[in-house]
Every structure is written in C-alpha cells, then in structure tokens.
Symmetry: C2
C-alpha cells in the first residue's frame, strides 16, 4: 500500500472508533454528545492517534489494542481546541473551515463539551483497554502528565501570559514544547510502550516526536503567513492580527523554513535504528513537512 | 474523640494532602497553580473526600492509602465549581464568601485552572496510588464515570437546558442525581471498594450516598431561601433571581424540609448493617441535615 492509502486507512479506523465510543454511551442523542461529536468529527489531521498507532505497529503491536489510547489522545487534543477557541481565550469563529464549537452550541455548552471530552478520554481508556493493568496505568500516566499543567495546559498558560508581547526564542520554544509537542511526544511514547518497546525505544520515540512536534508547529506558523485561506479553512495572517509571537515573527520566514527542514531531518534520524520498519513514520514526517494545510 | 473533632481532623488531613500534591509539582509558584490552589483552598466542606475516607475506614482501610483518590474527588468537584461560576455559565462573583476564580485570575486562566484541576485529579491518582493496579483502575473507572457526561457533567447540561424554565419533579431529581449526587455516590463507593468491601457493601454505600446526596442538595436549596447571608458567604435568594428551579420552588419549603428529614433517615437506614461501625457516617448525615451553611 502507498503511504497516503496507509494514512487514510489509519484515519478511517480512528474516526470509526471515535464514533463507536460515543455511540456506546448512555444517550448519544443528547446535545452534549452532539457538541462533543461535532468537534471530534470536524476533520482534524489525526496526527496524534495516527502517530501512536504507527509507533505501536512498528514495535509489533496490534492496532486494535492501541485504539482506546489513541482516541483518548485525540479527545484531549480536541477538548483543548474547543476551550482555546472560546471568546475569553483566542476568540476564534472558525476552525478547519467550520464554525467553532461555541458558535454552534453556545459558550456554556462548549465549556461543558470540552470538559466532557477531557473526562471521556480517561473514561474511554478505563472502559476499553485490553492491555494489562500495569501497562494501562503506565500509559495513562504518560498521557495525563502530557495533558496537564506540566504539559499542554502549561503551554497554554505561557501562551496566555505572552499575549500582545514579543516573546524571545526561549519562551517561544518552551511554549510549543508544552502546548504542541507534549501530546505528540506522549502519543509516540505510549505507542512504543503499548507495542512492547523498552526504555531505549521510548527515548528514541520521544526524541523523534519532539523534533516532529516542533517542526509541525513551525509549519503551522509558516502556513499562517504563506498558506491559502481556501485550503486552510481559516483566515491567514491571524497570528499577526492577534499579536501572537510565532516562529516566523521570531526567526523570520527564511530561517523558519530552514528550521522546519532541519527538525524534520532530525526527527527522521531519530528513527534510524528501526531501518525499513520506520518507513511509515518517515513518510509521515515528510508528509507533514510538505503539507499545505 | 467527638464527631466534630473527628471531622475536623479528616478535613485537616485532606487539606494537607491537597497542598502536598500541588507543591510537589514542577513549578508550584506559577500563576496557574496559584489559581488552582486558590479554589482548592477556598474552604469547602470537603464532603466528598471525607465521605470516601470514612467509608473506607468503616471497611477497615488505612486513611493514607485512600487519600489520592479522596483528593482527586475534591479536585473534580472544585474544577466543576470554577467552570460553573464562569460568566457564560452561572456568572457568579462570590463563592464561599470569596471572589470566584475568574474574578481574581480572569476568565481565560479560570478555564485553564478548571481544566488543570480535572486533569490533575487523574494525575494524582496515577502518581500516588499505593493500591494494586486492578484496584486503582476499578476506582478510577467509578470516579471517571461519575464525573463524566453520564454523571456530573450530564447534570450540568440538564441545569443549563432548564435555565429560565419551571422544571418538573422528575427533571429536578434527574438533574441533582447527576449534578450533585453522582460524585457523592462515587466517593462512598470508591471508599467501600478501596476498603476491601464486596459488592453488597458497594451497593449499600451507593444507596446511602444517593439519599445523602439528594438530602444535601435539598438543604442547599432550603438555605438559599432561609439561610443567613453572613454565614453562607453568598447572597441568599440567588436561585430565585437566576430563575433556577429548586426543591423549594418545586415542592415548597414545608415539603422540602420533610423530604430532607426523610432522606437523611433513609441514608442512615442504609447503614444499619454496619451497626456502631457506622457511627461517624450517621453523625455526618445528621451534621449535614443541621448545618447552617
């Protein structure tokens, strides 16, 4: 199978599982489930779950056993977007070309849908994990730490406190290592763990995903100045308008493009020990480098 | 020891543990931790953790081993209050006599502090549990379900969708079985589970806490019309002002007082099999019945 077919197949499996977990709840017709489902199905790139599945697969695990953890990651990512878009946060009306959650369901329901998705991530693992209790707990611990104040939320706090300020390169990097890279790193590590990898594998996956996560953010920042509004499904130039410091505003476009290529290369180098088994992850890294949205 | 001393001692232990868990984080001086700590230390009654500790103790467990789970419950309760008080939700300025979280830290930080506390509840269990992996997972599953869309969040959704409407008794009861009783029931059940109780114990504790939880809410509603503002630390009559349906608005004051006594009695009856071992829980039930705040 070609890379894009493999990617598409993984995304489809993730989408199917996300739907299934929601549909098996008590009353999936309730508004709150619709609000949760709306943002879950709003067409994200599914980077985090795909990464977890691919890392686990490379170690030799069955995709099915990893799925509850992979979907939990996507739920956590999605809840953070819903809360991030709220009027008191970034106040965004559009996300992936569609009205944001609070624009459709109102602010109060959007707060609850975000809360519901974060909690649902843990519920899903606790309900569907087929891994051993020890493995389940170890994976949850990595996920919980990456999502918390020392991980993603910590990055959002730095973002919030940097609003309207020109931040330096250290603050920018610290912010994105937390806000963006933390969940991506956790996805890769949990994939390695559930796949039966040892400490060396977890370290290698963490290094790979750290570079990949930062490269991913740099690409996002580049697309915000040079992408196509139509393809992106959101207005370009929004970072500048919101006075957000980005890799482009701190390093300039040319240097950012160089960093993007370098970090993607370093991510791929971190996979060298896996030889041809890493083919999908290498292709994924290059795909994210070349994407236009 | 007298009941009030026992209660005070338990509350002190909970407060100490909550502080300790926060202080052992990476950078507890950061604003986000202050915001989380502010609401955690705002002087709640600690009903949920105290109940969990007491139920576990009655079954013969050491308090210390239950503490991470008990504190997780209080964190979940506290996050729900922070989000509930937001301008887009109940828009409350005061909580327990103090300015609400968003009044002190701003709306964006309050959203993140709530998110942080929900996630921190799971982090705390995963980091500090000394129970077996199976026991830890079983306890977390009860907690996660009670906090989710089929539990507390579901109750908040009913509350939100009932705004400005006169609801009937079924809706009112369903709302509070989820919004208030779910976490109280989960606290008692997890206490029984961690204390080594069997299925019968969990059922008995669930029945006890269902009556206690609804009695607790009825008392809250009664205090909102007949309590003292000074003692409560909030304005009375706020339910009426916010057009909230309450036990008093649906059943009247006299009937509500009767239900309060009846349900407290039924809660105590559910403890009969434990004889004198249930003394603390009986006293706690009567204490909650007679409280003035």
């Amino acid at each position: 199978m070609e890379f894009l077919e493999q990617l598409e197949a993984k995304i489809l499996e993730v989408n199917k599982a996300l739907r299934k977990y929601l549909e098996e709840k008590d009353n999936p017709q309730a508004t709150i489930y619709k609000a949760m489902d709306y943002s879950l199905q709003a067409g994200g790139k599914r980077i985090r779950p795909v990464l977890m599945l691919a890392c686990a697969e490379m170690m030799g695990a069955e995709q099915e056993k990893v799925m509850p953890f992979a979907c939990a990651m996507e739920m956590i990512h999605t809840y953070s977007l819903i809360h991030d878009d709220l009027p008191c946060m970034d106040d965004d009306d559009l996300r992936r070309g569609k009205p944001t959650n609070h624009k459709v369901y109102g602010e109060a329901m959007a707060v609850l849908a975000g809360d519901g998705l974060l909690n649902f991530a843990y519920e899903t693992i606790l309900k569907y994990s087929q891994m051993s209790p020890n493995m389940t707990l170890a994976a949850m611990a990595i996920i919980a730490e990456s999502a918390g104040v020392e991980g993603m939320i910590g990055g959002q706090v730095i973002d919030l406190e940097s609003e309207g300020k020109a931040v330096d390169a250290i603050t920018l990097m610290t912010m994105h290592l937390h806000k963006t890279a933390a969940l991506i790193m956790a996805s890769a590590k949990v994939g390695a763990l559930l796949g039966g990898g040892g400490r060396d594998d977890l370290n290698a996956m963490e290094e790979f995903a750290r570079y990949l996560g930062i490269a991913f953010q740099i690409k996002d920042d580049i697309l915000d100045v040079s992408g196509s509004e139509e393809v992106l499904g959101k207005s370009i130039g929004s970072d500048k308008e919101n006075e957000k410091s980005t890799f482009v505003s701190v390093y300039g476009l040319e240097q950012s493009e160089k960093m993007l290529t370098d970090y993607t290369q370093k991510a791929i180098e971190a996979l060298s020990r896996y030889g041809t088994k890493a083919e999908f992850l290498i292709n994924l890294s290059n795909f994210l480098l070349d994407r236009d949205r």
